[in-house]
Symmetry: none
Amino acid sequence: MPSKYDAEPSRLDEAARAGWLYYVAGNTQDEIAKKLGVSRQSAQRLVSLSISAKLIKVRLDHPIARCMELSQHLKDKFDLRGCEVVPSDPTSSSVTLGIAQAGAAEMERHLKSEKPLIMSVGTGRTLRACVDQLQQMDCQMHSIVSLVGNIASDGSASAYDVIVRLADTVKAPHFPMPLPVIAASVGEREILQSQTLIRHILELAKNADVTFVGIGHLGEHAPLLEDHFITDAERADLQKVGAVGEIVGWTYDGEGNIIDGHTNDRVASAPMMPNHNKPVIGVAAGIDKIAAISGALRGKLVNSLITNEATAELLLK
Amino acid sequence: MPSKYDAEPSRLDEAARAGWLYYVAGNTQDEIAKKLGVSRQSAQRLVSLSISAKLIKVRLDHPIARCMELSQHLKDKFDLRGCEVVPSDPTSSSVTLGIAQAGAAEMERHLKSEKPLIMSVGTGRTLRACVDQLQQMDCQMHSIVSLVGNIASDGSASAYDVIVRLADTVKAPHFPMPLPVIAASVGEREILQSQTLIRHILELAKNADVTFVGIGHLGEHAPLLEDHFITDAERADLQKVGAVGEIVGWTYDGEGNIIDGHTNDRVASAPMMPNHNKPVIGVAAGIDKIAAISGALRGKLVNSLITNEATAELLLK
DNA sequence: TACGTTTACGGGCAAATACTCACTTGAATA
DNA sequence: TATTCAAGTGAGTATTTGCCCGTAAACGTA
């Protein structure tokens, strides 16, 4: 297997070099071509590769007035510890655009801490996008624990495996939860959660110093449904009793009250802790998530929010 | 008085937004212009402002990034034409690992030139390692000339015969210097260097288009000593008068000034040319060479450097 | 060895971007 | 009120970049 110190630098090494020269040093592609001894076209390919391989990470470091304003209003209205609003691109279809970078920055901020901390994380597309924006770090003193099972109904590991990727990038010890999101029965949940290993993980999660979760809606394309954790009948049922959103599998109504019974009887995730005294950061945006986010904020299921401009405006309506 | 949450966005806000749309969301400046309701040129100015105001932070997440940064700092600090820093493998004891490949690549880059050029080379373990990494080429139009004698004190050819191996690999006419590195006396040097053949070689060396040299230290295991070109007494003597390093036999102090007298009176190598206007590339790494490399850079005995990460960090201290 | 397939390369060109210059605006000042 | 000056604007233009496409080398297969 080729190592990092291979005689000939891998294509990615060259791409990194080209990307650095282009974005950091401000060379033109012609200059890069000359320096690396390749044609201009090859240099262009390398630069382009450095982006597509996610080697280049761009962030905006400026509080845009409009976003600051929205964030302040959200903080006031929902009594939040923190709130970050990133600009929206009205024409972009990507919901995680911008959110991902902001989420990653917030994660890094916590992970940079000298003293060991426990970070707990949920799962989902949004969190995964955040984790993809993280820079490599060395966080061996921290621990990362999953709040939610990563076993899909068919037994495979979830496609949005946030924790492994996260721990991999920041080189931290991690504790995924080898459980389904929702157990087959109440009894099964009892049995699963009584395992020593799982109890240890749940204990860790309870003591987490900071928590990052995504927020799922229960509409037509509910993540829980799309990932086959619940059936469409169950979803319809939940909606009927007023459920509007879901965090790590726990469904709740418009006021943020955890739904009694239904699938919640079988959710194997770590329990929600409304009004938690540590940062619990929800990362979510999108028009179809408005009700879900609003509920989570009202019920104080999360006490911090990272979202975008458009979503923030709707939440303040 | 305008508050932080003023409705009216400042120019920097607009710049931030434009920068965000450009770098994070990937819009073209035309699209940004449309969205912000300004002309395309203004959009360009905003984007450009977002960079010059350092609102946009670009990071390269790859081990190479550190090397690029170090290389840039070295270039700035010592006013170098070029500088390449290769990753260090902290677990490897080999000092030439990586350097050799980088050096070979640099040599090849020059040798690929269509128009005939003269390459002059020093000697030593490091250069030998570079040459061993060269690929076969056909460079009959170029000439390769040695800067330094290859006759050891016992009359044998040096074990690190760089030039013959180099010329052999790239099939170029070559001019080794049939001299000792250090003549027995000042007079002997005169006689040796007055030979027509030698004078021709020295003339060639003076007109070299590119030069590659190793950098030797004068510590306990100084190459000059180990190869029996100088005695331990001479070495101690040189150290006493401040010599820290040596290039093709010429010893110099911490500021890169060639030592007056001592062994330098008898060095038979081509003369050093500080501040040369052609590339003079030093190839060296290792903790015991720090002072020697630093001196060579300060005195502009070389104007380009190929080294490794660990050495680069120490040089910048 | 011959042949089909994949991969990378570089020429060329249209789109996108950066830069220059002459002009406008508005605030400060004589 | 006139003048100066800094900052911004749009037009025009040169440079840079992104991408298509034909060619060639590399690779796997028969």
